[in-house]
């Protein structure tokens, strides 16, 4: 260079050069969708519930972020929500001033990471300079450096690559009885890349993994059974089973180490089972029955995703597609694994970025809808014992619609928020009830002590479904078939007890019809509603309304809405052995 300025860092690298623009922090992305875990729900699908998504298909959560900023170039960084969280950027979409990120993360729905944007200073239309300080321009009079927008500070840089396989361990098998069977596709492969700076909860990372792939399992066979007069005939059967888990390359950054582990996390899974049979006869026609599953499988699987799961990922005003592309796998495959790519590490504190977890900018924290009710219990309760003015013990219990949502978790006395296992966050509001006090002790019983039972209002920020009366009950998280308006809580409680004939505390919308076949016609299906153990609605005299009934005015004059179906309870359930099939739904009440 013949003119300008050039400075160096302590390692001898150029850190300011008037020929080159600095890269600066320009803002944080906003999360614009709820996290989802889509599964195939088309023909012959086998339900994949939360347990299997976690333990068999290694499935993470897809989520989308948006950032409006006028720049031609943008480098995204993310901050994990917790120590060792698996994260992968799936897509970045740019159209005009709008930047979209599709990301995949592990954990619960509420554990979404945060994303931050860096851009060349020369791309920023308006930069406010300090009253004093320095501004550096290039030969085209473009601002390339200013102390009012300090450049990206690099703590570490590595070149990383993904492992060559997703899983090498045993997977198990599914066969003729595989109508509710799942293969273990959980990834057991990772590669460690060690840098020079330890990970902490303030480090943020830029990396766009290239690798993706899938694991698949296929099995089929035939058998025959005796039939006809005296069992002299035979009936031939053919069956097929297929399942897969689609994976994306992800990384983890364990705190207290300089390790960065490349690995795999699932983004889309599916399982199907089909069985067909011929008529009772003596001849063979087996060839016509073979290959049935393959025919189903190739029949437009992409259109048969769980209904609407990715609908929220479509940014309407853009002409570019913004929903992540998903792939169903027929065989084990890996793509784009050979590429190496850069991992940049910096620290959020350099840019005055707070270290809070997963802030959802779409929520107005100043105007949360706090609620308080004693029946069903909806409050944040602090139970404490004071001896001579000092608190010696305390217990927090958080109830929402009768469910103890922090069961098994300890919440601190002074905590004001709690995130449950399903990702829902509960926030403590104003103190509502302080009347429950008791004085005991004194004399031979020991020192006098006072027990307090303070109850606070509580607000819920929902990412999963409504609690179901049992915090350990991890419901199916597909709400796409729910008809409950978004501002009304959806309840679903104690169906196992209902199956035993115990109605107390049961809350559900239940349909039933004669026979065991699926009720696809929408007729001859009866509806009834139980809410907090009370039967509030029957329409057995108006059976023709059928499955099309999605809301009803009940005996109490209130309007009820049919919520999401709960396949984990066997829909259609025939276990009462009364000749009827039952389907269980959540329910919301105005």
């Amino acid at each position: 260079m013949s003119y300008g300025i050039k400075t160096f860092d302590d390692e001898g690298y150029v850190n300011l050069h008037s020929d080159y623009s600095s890269l600066v922090y320009v803002g944080e992305f906003t999360k614009i969708t709820n996290p989802v875990r889509p599964v195939y729900e088309g023909d012959y699908s086998i339900a994949i519930l939360d347990y299997n998504k976690n333990n068999k298909y290694d499935q993470g959560w897809l989520v989308q972020y948006e950032f409006d900023f006028d720049t031609d170039n943008l480098v995204p960084f993310y901050r994990p929500d917790y120590n060792g969280q698996e994260i992968g950027i799936v897509d970045v979409v740019n159209e005009g001033n709008k930047w979209i990120i599709n990301a995949l993360f592990k954990g619960d729905a509420g554990n979404f990471p945060r994303f931050f944007a860096f851009a060349p200073l020369t791309d920023i239309p308006t930069v406010t300079l300090s009253d004093s300080g320095i501004a550096v321009y290039d030969e085209d009079s473009q601002l390339v450096f200013t102390d009012s927008q300090p450049p990206l500070r690099i703590d570490d840089v590595l070149t990383v690559q993904h492992p060559t396989s997703i899983r090498t361990g045993e997977r198990g098998t599914c066969g003729r009885d595989g109508t509710n069977c799942h293969i273990n596709f959980t990834s057991d492969q990772s590669t460690t890349h060690t840098g020079t700076v330890n990970n902490t909860n303030t480090k943020i990372y830029h990396v766009v993994p290239s690798a993706y792939g899938g694991l698949a399992f296929d099995n089929n066979g035939t058998f025959e059974r005796s039939c006809g007069l005296f069992g002299w005939g035979d009936r031939k059967y053919a069956w097929g089973y297929r399942s897969w888990s689609s994976f994306r390359g992800t990384l983890t950054h364990p705190y207290g180490t300089a390790d960065h582990n490349t690995g795999w996390l699932g983004d889309f899974s599916g399982a199907l089972y089909q069985q067909v049979n011929g008529s009772c006869g003596y001849g063979g026609f087996l060839g016509a029955l073979l290959g049935i599953v393959a025919v189903v499988f190739t029949g437009g699987i992409g259109l048969a995703l769980v209904g609407g799961a990715l609908a929220g990922f479509v940014v309407g005003e853009l002409t570019s597609p913004t929903a992540p592309g998903l792939k169903a796998y027929e065989n084990d495959e890996i793509f784009d694994q050979n590429s190496s790519y850069e991992l940049l590490v910096t620290d959020a504190t350099y840019y005055n970025i707070d270290s809070a977890n997963g802030i959802d900018n779409s929520i107005d924290y100043n105007n949360l809808p706090y609620q308080y009710s004693t029946s069903p219990r909806t409050y944040w309760q602090l139970y404490s014992i004071e001896v001579l003015g000092d608190t010696v013990t305390n217990t927090i219990e958080i109830y929402w619609n009768g469910a103890l949502v922090n069961s098994g978790s300890t919440v601190g006395e002074f905590s004001t928020r709690f995130t449950a296992g399903n990702g829902d966050t509960y926030i403590r509001g104003d103190l509502e009830d302080t009347t429950s006090q008791a004085f005991s002790g004194g004399g031979y019983e020991g020192p006098p002590y006072v027990t307090f039972n303070d109850k606070y209002k509580v607000a819920r920020i929902a990412y999963g479904q409504e609690p179901s009366g049992d915090a350990s009950d991890d419901d199916d998280d597909d709400d796409s078939d729910s008809n409950v308006p978004s501002d009304i809580p959806e309840l679903y409680a104690n169906i196992p007890q209902y199956k035993l004939g115990i109605f107390s505390n049961v809350t559900a919308w239940i349909t039933y019809w004669s026979g065991s076949a699926s009720s696809a016609s929408g007729t001859n299906t009866n509806n009834f509603i139980i809410y907090n153990g009370q039967f509030v609605y029957f329409d057995i005299n108006n059976a023709a309304t059928g499955t099309s009934t999605t809301s009803a005015t009940a005996n109490d004059g209130r309007t009820y809405y049919r919520g999401a179906s709960h396949p984990e309870d066997g829909n259609p359930y025939t276990g009462f052995n009364n000749g009827y099939s039952y389907t269980f739904f959540g329910v919301g009440r105005e």
Binding site: D10, V14, T322, S340
Partner: protein, 90 residues
């Protein structure tokens, strides 16, 4: 502060990367950045930023970078999804 640039209370002595070049990776074409054109910089990195949804169904891949002592080459396979490149240097 033993070294670096002090600017009105802001100490600028840390390591960073500046933006050397940006552009769009064109499918089937090779983009290269000559090291000789940037003699003051001793460490160049290329980051690829996707600018559209990648289709796994079409087996789309990302561009790759190849480096030798003279240049950085951004290779773009035929089944590449759209990307921009940012060459960073220090």
């Amino acid at each position: 502060m033993a070294y670096g640039l002090a600017i009105d209370g802001f100490s600028f002595n840390y390591g960073t990367y500046s933006v050397v070049a940006t552009g769009t990776v064109t499918t089937g074409n090779q983009t290269f950045v000559s090291k000789l054109a940037h003699p003051d910089l001793s460490d160049l990195k290329v980051v690829f930023i996707p600018i559209g949804v990648r289709s796994p169904g079409d087996e789309e891949v990302r561009p790759v970078v190849i480096e030798n002592s003279y240049a950085l080459y951004a290779n773009s396979p035929n089944n590449m999804s759209p990307h921009k490149y940012i060459v960073l240097g220090r």
